[in-house]
């Protein structure tokens, strides 16, 4: 019985963490462009040689 008292809250908290993480991801727009996200990791948005500027990462930010 005592192990139940520990296991039940642990199971519920773990599940709740997953749920909260999902809802956070949904709210922050991570499910809005699934195709884009899958392809985006294949490209680098590095600065062109010899050109420096604080705006160059615009495509990656946000």
């Amino acid at each position: 019985m005592t192990n139940l008292l520990m296991l039940i809250p642990v199971a519920l908290v773990l599940g709740a963490i997953g749920l909260v993480a999902f809802l956070w991801a949904l709210k922050s727009g991570q499910f809005e462009d699934l195709d884009g996200a899958a392809n985006r990791i294949l490209f680098d948005y590095d600065d062109p040689p010899g050109k420096e500027g604080d705006h160059d990462h615009a495509g990656r930010k946000s």
């Binding site: 519920l12 884009g36 294949l42 948005y45």
Partner: protein, 778 residues
């Protein structure tokens, strides 16, 4: 033949930009991309043939983006754009990199799924037109839109479903954990206190989840009940509420009939189906949303003082003078006051022969100005144009279709009363015939409602629809309407439009009594013109250098030294063509009789096959066209359609469809032109190619891509198969109910039996639907 290094199209011999590029625009775009150090783009991209080629449009008028910019309080300006011409992920990278390299940019983010671009920049450092100029120079078409007006409702609904699905999934998983323990201890090894504790914890998880996740269903059920009928959501809502209520009661009194797991896992299954269904249609929706975009077309207005202004068509006053350049689509109704040209009115009338335009000719919004600039006095704009008239006819026709009731709702009309009566009779039966206490009788009655809970029934349709639209999406057909598939399955008559639907929609050279040398000479002259007939001549003989020094005489033809290529009237030839169909060109050389090149709009490559297959499967096939009888007959004969009607105005097409409907026929209308839009909206179900005008794509239930007609056939096949799967699913659900209802009525159902039988029925229905996703259908 070499392909253009920028747009990937074939490079014509006539190219002014050398062997590597098809035009100067592509050459400049390539230089721009290389100059930015972004030429990796060309090695990474893969060209999507269904998208328009990435070709800078040199004739397009400049679009002023400034009016669409919203400047926030922090000085950051934002602009929302729809991007046309995006081929693959490399395009996303190119666009974002091009934007990122400009001063003042805060954010440039392109959503690959919806093809929408958001640009934010500090408004004091840059302006919209300068920022977007490189994108346009590379060849992307950008349409500004108002994010407030677009698809918000559907998007919010979809997010709500996804959130509810997550909550239901969490609850279902955790409640199941306790339910499995309870079932395992059902032989008496679990004491009363533990079971009660587990029930209480389940209740604590399940009840908030039910309240949260039931909202989408309850809303729709209430709306249906208010309007005096029932839909599938009514039994779902009643079932879940009763299950949760009865389980709570059993938990309070310490009984064993707690069905929390059944309630939440039912919601979880249903929400998965709903979400996938809504997502599948979301794609098609975003494809059709272009119509709503603002400022897509502009009209060049000539002010009295000689200056030019670009205005959206609805801001032009009647009486103003408008300039239409060669290649422009005219945005207003009016009368020509100056200029000689030819108009392509095929969008409005289906007529493939360009009609001459001279001062005094009435022109209509939607026509394409072919050969030379025209000045037009505006007689009507916006709401009063012929185009707007057609759109209005379409809206009226569409109202009729809204009355269609989905098959699931039709089933639930019979299903819900039967089940609820069964529950009532169970209660009365136990009360009257036996001496059971009323609480127990009520328990049995409620368990009848729970076990017949329409899980399988409610999944029967959406699962099949999701699988079917996924299959059709891979074939290039997008389903826009939720009930399109059901309506398509009932079709027994197919009505085609001609221009652009059965045919490709552009003229092609026909064989004639000329030889290869004549063709080469004519093509080399024709290479200098953008007129569709001249382009067709060049397509027939592509590797020909353009003759230098060709003069184009607007509305007449081309002149090179003493050789002339042009129309019958200009060359002073006698009109002996009689009823001969199609556009023609004459090559007139000194001391030689003029040679005639005839052209015709050719049927799509698989049109004959598709029509033959349709007829073999017993469909009645008709052709309704606005073109002249000779041309229509030629196409009808070529593809094998016996019933055809020529010279149809939009109202005539509607009349014919109404006539067919009165004979009890279910008509599938396939068309692309503006003149088809009302008919598309009126027909039982409608399809239109993705090359169709926006209005038609909006009116159609299904939009198909590519140069072939085969998606029409595929869509009909899948729809029929889907329909039979839906019927099978309903049958399976019925068989399941026949087994379980007696158990419930006799009070033999335990929570374990309920859980097993309900999830089995759902899984059986889903597996049955998945059969549609692969394999041959016919």
């Amino acid at each position: 033949m070499a392909n253009c290094a920028h747009c990937g199209l074939e490079v014509g011999p006539a190219s002014a930009a050398g062997p590597d590029f098809c035009c100067r625009g592509c050459q400049a775009a390539y230089a721009l991309v290389r100059g930015m150090g972004l030429d990796q783009y060309y090695t990474r991209r893969c060209i999507d043939p269904t998208q328009p080629p990435l070709r800078p449009d040199q004739e397009a008028g400049p679009i002023d983006f400034e009016p669409h910019v919203r400047v926030g309080e922090d000085g950051v300006a934002a602009l929302h754009l729809m991007v046309e011409g995006m081929h693959c992920a490399a395009c996303v990278w190119l666009i974002e990199s091009l934007l990122g390299r400009q001063p003042g940019i805060v954010e440039g983010r392109l959503n690959m799924t919806t093809r929408r671009l958001v640009v934010r920049w500090r408004s004091d450092e840059n302006n919209a037109n300068a920022i977007l100029a490189p994108l346009q120079a590379v060849g992307y078409r950008l349409l500004p839109y108002d994010p407030q007006r677009l698809g918000r409702e559907a998007e919010r609904h979809e997010k709500e479903l996804l959130r509810a699905m997550a909550v239901a999934g969490f609850a279902a998983g955790n409640v199941m954990l306790f339910s499995v323990s309870i079932w395992a201890g059902d032989d008496g090894s679990m004491d009363w206190a533990t079971r009660s504790l587990f029930h209480w914890i389940s209740a604590l998880i399940a009840l908030p989840a039910v309240v949260y996740c039931l909202r989408p269903f309850a809303r729709s059920a209430l709306a249906a009940l208010k309007s005096g009928h029932t839909n599938m959501d009514v039994p779902i809502t009643i079932g879940v509420v009763l299950t949760a209520g009865m389980s709570l009661w059993e938990t309070i009194v310490g009984g064993r009939h707690a069905y929390f797991d059944a309630a939440v896992s039912l919601l979880f299954f249903l929400l998965i189906g709903r979400y996938l269904d809504s997502r599948a249609r979301g794609r098609a929706r975003s494809a059709a949303e272009h119509l709503l975009s603002l400022g897509a077309t502009v009209v060049t207005v000539l002010e009295p003082d000689g200056t030019r202004r670009l205005l959206p068509p609805d801001q032009v006053a009647p009486g103003a003078t408008v300039l239409a350049a060669a290649g422009d689509r005219i945005g207003v109704d009016g009368t020509v006051i100056d200029g000689q040209s030819e108009l392509d009115t095929s969008l409005l009338t289906g007529e493939t022969m360009p009609s001459p335009a001279t001062p005094g000719t009435a022109v209509f919004a939607g026509s394409l100005n072919l050969s030379a600039a025209l000045r037009i006095t505006v007689t009507a704009v916006g709401e009063s144009t012929l185009l707007a008239e057609i759109v209005r006819m379409m809206e009226v026709a569409e109202q009729g279709r809204a009355r269609y009731v989905a098959v699931a709702d039709r089933v639930s009309r019979y299903y819900a009363p039967v089940v609820h009566l069964l529950g009532l009779f169970t209660f009365i039966g136990w009360e009257v015939l036996t001496a059971t206490p009323w609480q127990v009788a009520l328990l049995y009655a409620v368990s009848v409602l729970i076990i017949t809970c329409p899980c399988a029934l409610a999944l029967a349709v959406p699962v099949v629809q999701v699988v079917a639209s996924g299959r059709l999406l891979r074939q290039g057909a997008l389903l826009k309407s939720a009930t399109a598939q059901e309506r398509l399955a009932a079709v027994d008559t197919v009505v085609f439009d001609k221009t652009g639907t059965l045919t490709i929609g552009r003229p092609e050279l026909l064989p004639g009594d000329w030889d290869e040398d004549d063709l080469r000479l004519a093509a080399s002259i024709a290479g200098a013109s953008r007129h569709p007939v001249a382009r067709a001549l060049l397509r027939a003989c592509p590797d020909i250098p353009v003759a230098a020094g060709v003069r184009e005489i607007p509305g007449c033809g081309l002149e090179w030294e003493d050789i002339r290529l042009g129309g019958r009237r200009w060359l002073g030839l006698r009109d002996d063509s009689g009823q001969q169909a199609g556009p023609e060109l004459f090559l007139d050389r000194p001391n030689r009789p003029p040679l005639r090149f005839a052209f015709a709009d050719q049927p799509r490559p698989d049109a004959v096959e598709v029509v033959a297959t349709l007829k073999r499967r017993g469909f009645r096939v008709e052709l309704l066209s606005g073109d002249r009888a000779v041309t229509v007959q030629a196409v009808a004969d070529a593809v094998g359609i016996e019933r055809w009607q020529a010279g149809c105005r939009p109202a005539d097409k509607c009349a014919r469809l109404t006539e067919l409907a009165e004979q009890g026929r279910k008509v599938l209308m396939v068309g692309d032109g503006l003149n088809d839009a009302p008919a598309l909206a009126l027909a039982h179900v409608s399809m239109s190619p993705s090359t169709a005008v926006d209005v038609s794509q909006t009116a159609a239930d299904i939009v198909f891509q590519g140069h072939r007609l085969a998606p029409v056939l595929e869509a009909m096949t899948v729809a029929r198969k889907a329909h039979s799967l839906v019927r099978q699913n309903f049958g399976l659900a019925l068989v399941y109910n026949l087994f379980t209802i007696p158990l419930a009525i006799t009070g033999m159902v335990t929570p374990l039996i309920a859980a097993i039988s309900m999830s089995t029925s759902s899984v059986v229905v889903i597996v049955n639907a998945l059969r549609l996703s692969r394999g041959r259908l016919w």
